[in-house]
């Protein structure tokens, strides 16, 4: 079975600073891959390269076998197939939660509000936010906002979901409700790539963990290996600092 997403030699620089120094990564359909590493190691940038928010300088990204990193390719249709959730939620403050969620399906997929009413309500209720559909983001807690952000990405029915440290900005007691959402998605078989600091969570649900160090994947493997018996000294050093 060929992989859903294959990165080969992906490089990205900002000015003089090369943040991704040749990344190779394969993600199977339905897999959950966790990216761990210190800040500045390139986790965020890598995710933003995958959904083409940042244009890649070198290397290829094969989605279902087609190279989406080709220069000059229109990124918009690709982005509609890959969902992303951000550390600071980035909800649209001038719209209600429901409007936030319905905007992209209406504009990109051409669906009407009446069409979307039922599936969107179902999503909100599935994640215990049924009574918050008409609220504005500044009326919601951090955890609620992040869950709405996840629903917003899901409404586009993406094939892959990217999560960029989505619990780092949350109060500890709100982290749990967001992780529950991730568990639920995992159970459904969504292909997910997470950059995260939640080591216990990664250990529990990840299929593959990649340790990024200074723009390269230094080590990758199943969680038991990475957390239990890391090969590289720097991996062990990092883990000893955060665990």
């Amino acid at each position: 079975m060929s992989a859903k997403l294959v990165l080969s030699g992906v490089r990205k620089r900002f000015g003089d600073n090369e943040v991704c120094k040749g990344i190779d990564l394969a993600v199977q359909e339905g897999q959950m891959v966790c990216l761990i590493g210190a800040s500045g190691s390139g986790k965020s940038t890598l995710l933003r390269c995958i959904n083409l928010l940042e244009p890649v300088d070198d290397g290829t990204i094969l989605l279902d076998g087609r190279d989406i990193a080709e220069p000059g390719l229109d990124p918009q249709p690709v982005r509609a197939r890959i969902g992303m959730v951000f550390q600071s939620y980035n909800l649209f403050p001038h719209m209600t939660a429901a409007e936030n969620v319905m905007l992209a399906p209406r504009r990109v997929h051409g669906r009407s509000r009446s069409d979307l009413q039922a599936p969107v309500t179902a999503l909100f209720e599935r994640f215990n936010l049924g009574d918050r559909m008409g609220h504005y983001p500044d009326q919601l807690s951090g955890g609620q906002q992040q869950r709405v952000a996840i629903i917003r990405a899901l409404a586009m029915q993406p094939e892959i979901m990217l999560f960029d440290e989505i619990t780092s900005a949350l109060d500890p007691e709100l982290v749990g409700e967001v992780l529950d959402v991730l568990r639920s998605l995992r159970a459904e078989g969504m292909t997910m790539i997470l950059a995260t600091h939640e080591m216990a969570f990664a250990q529990e649900v990840a299929d593959k963990v990649c340790f990024l160090d200074k723009g390269r994947i230094l080590e990758e493997g199943p969680p038991e290996t990475i957390f239990g018996a890391p090969r590289e000294a720097r991996t062990a050093a990092f883990l000893s600092r955060v665990l």
Binding site: P77, A80, N90, F92, L103, A104, R107, Y136, D138
Partner: protein
Amino acid sequence: MSGSETTAGGLSRRAAYEARQRKRAMRVAAGSTAAVVLALVLLVPLAPGWEKVQRSFFNREVFAKTFPGLLEAFLTNIYIFAWCAPLIAVLGLVIALCRDVRAPALYPLRLFGAIYTDVFRGLPVILVIYLVGFGIPGLGLPRPWNSPYIWGSLALILVYAAYVAEIIRSGIDSIHSSQRAAAASLGLNEKDAMRFVVLPQAIRNVAPANMNMFIALQKDVALLSFIGPVEIFRQAGVYKSLMANFTPYVGAALIFLAVTIPATRYADYLMQKQRRART
């Protein structure tokens, strides 16, 4: 410790103290205001030239005679404002968007926007009114296309659109790039991202600055009088000249304020309401 005692009326110690301070401040303010007003009312008429000033500026007879004509002239101000304001908003938005295009192929648009705002923010309005109001019709346009109403209004629109464009542009810039990133990551194209995500927020953010612009526009409408149209301040000038008296200007100012003050208060109220509704 008696720090958290309440008084007999149920107020905390601090609240009672602050209430006393407020009452005292009110009394001082009322007293001093009354004293100043009394001084003005009693002392100003004692000035030697007061009678002449009153006859020249606050003349009841002249006021009564000129008020109806001034009201009629004010309609001209209202019309001009009514057709300029929406066009300024539209052109300002277009120029702001021109300045914001990112595609390299559209660079000329960006350049055009920058030159436009530099030029029209730099020129005095009255100069543009003369150049456009007399100059363009002077090239040989037939009537009614050479009307000063058309070209004078166009001059106002060109100048004010430059200011509004800059205000909107700063509003757009003030929207954090993470909003655009979120919109892009959902698959929205640039046009939809601008239209549904960035612009609504940007325009709401700069609404107070824009409202100040439109208040200034209300006053600058009077500049069209230089190229012919008889608006309220020109009409006041005609009366002043015919009667050798300045009271018509006082009348014109009163009419003007009667409209602009409620307008600005209402605009403030709308802003407050919008802010309150979202908390």
